[in-house]
């Protein structure tokens, strides 16, 4: 039953991303052609709201469920992995018009071909796990 809350959060997230059109292939295309403010507006207001919420939690105004402070895990330092990995991710994001959340959300909207993309994405993650030590990080 502890999974119910995560299921509900996922449902909420899925509805928000469909209603915001952030799962639209066309919106991603439009963003990378600088032809619309829409996606920049979504990402921008998400970050600004996120900064405000996290600053409030830093000042202990917002606390975690069990009263403990809210902790955002820190990304390890580095440059190469973030820029190279980011570019590779960007290629895929713009090609299929979906990042990992929308992959599943779009499957739910009835885009069944997305199952192939999801399997390929799992395999892509698997390849990373195998060759990771040979890559610059």
């Amino acid at each position: 039953m502890k999974y119910i809350k995560f299921l509900l959060i996922g449902m909420f997230f899925g509805i928000v991303l469909v209603k915001s059109e952030a799962v639209s292939w066309y919106r991603i295309y439009e963003m990378f052609r600088f032809q619309s403010f829409h996606m920049y507006g979504i990402i921008g207001t998400a970050i600004v709201s996120g900064i405000i919420l996290l600053q409030l939690s830093k000042r202990n105004i917002i606390k975690g469920a069990n009263g403990s402070p809210i902790v955002v895990p820190l990304k390890e330092n580095g440059f190469k992995r973030y820029i190279f990995g980011g570019i590779i991710f960007g290629f895929g994001w713009a090609l299929i018009g979906a990042c990992p959340g929308p992959l599943y959300i779009l499957l739910g909207t009835g885009v069944y071909s997305m199952a192939i993309v999801i399997i390929a994405a799992i395999f892509g993650t698997f390849i990373y796990g195998i060759i990771k030590d040979k890559l610059p990080h």
Binding site: G92, A94, C99, A120, K132
Partner: protein, 185 residues
């Protein structure tokens, strides 16, 4: 009801995404939608081949609940919370896409030219889906996160690695959309 059924404006959607992130942090978890791909690798026995997938996936199974919820959320949103409004794209975008061979831009969430059965059964079509998926799956793990983990969580918590990753996302996306897509279509 009309407000609910129409597409939501960006200034409503953005804060709601931040709220999703806070809900997960409140429960002691992280908002990062790509983690489930690693969890799936671990469940499928990836730990036997790579140390990277040798972790107790049961502790990560909550992110599979989020994934199943996201699928249900997508279903609910299209079947019960939508009217058939066409995505309000820039006229220039629609014309541009038409010259690339995409008809009815914005009529659905994804182009038929990439996602319908006919495309799926062509060599080029299936190659696009597989290559796209591989790039997303490989890139997100190499970069240590995706749009939710880096662009939303990482930038909201003012982390430099996430800024570099997001710059990478945009370099890759800009090259794909502006230079490679016109070659493919």
């Amino acid at each position: 009801m009309e407000y609910l059924l129409n597409p939501w404006p960006w200034y409503v959607s953005g804060p709601l995404i931040a709220f999703t992130m806070m809900l997960l942090l409140y429960l002691g978890k992280t908002f990062g939608m790509s983690s489930n791909l690693s969890t799936m690798c671990s469940i499928l026995g990836g730990g036997k081949i790579s140390e990277f997938f040798k972790f107790d996936w049961k502790e990560q199974s909550w992110n599979l609940a989020v994934v199943i919820g996201a699928i249900i959320g997508g279903f609910i949103a299209t079947h019960f919370l939508s009217n058939d409004v066409v995505t309000d794209l820039n006229i220039k975008t629609v014309e541009e896409l038409k010259t690339l061979g995409f008809s009815n831009a914005g009529a659905s969430l994804v182009p038929d030219e990439i996602y319908n059965l006919e495309a799926l059964l062509s060599l080029k079509g299936i190659a696009i889906l597989i290559v796209g998926g591989l790039l997303v799956g490989f890139g997100t793990r190499y970069a240590g996160g995706c749009t939710s983990g880096h662009a939303i969580t990482g930038l909201s918590s003012l982390q430099r690695p996430s800024l570099i990753a997001v710059i990478g996302f945009f370099i890759g996306g800009l090259i794909m959309t502006n230079f490679i897509l016109p070659l493919i279509f």
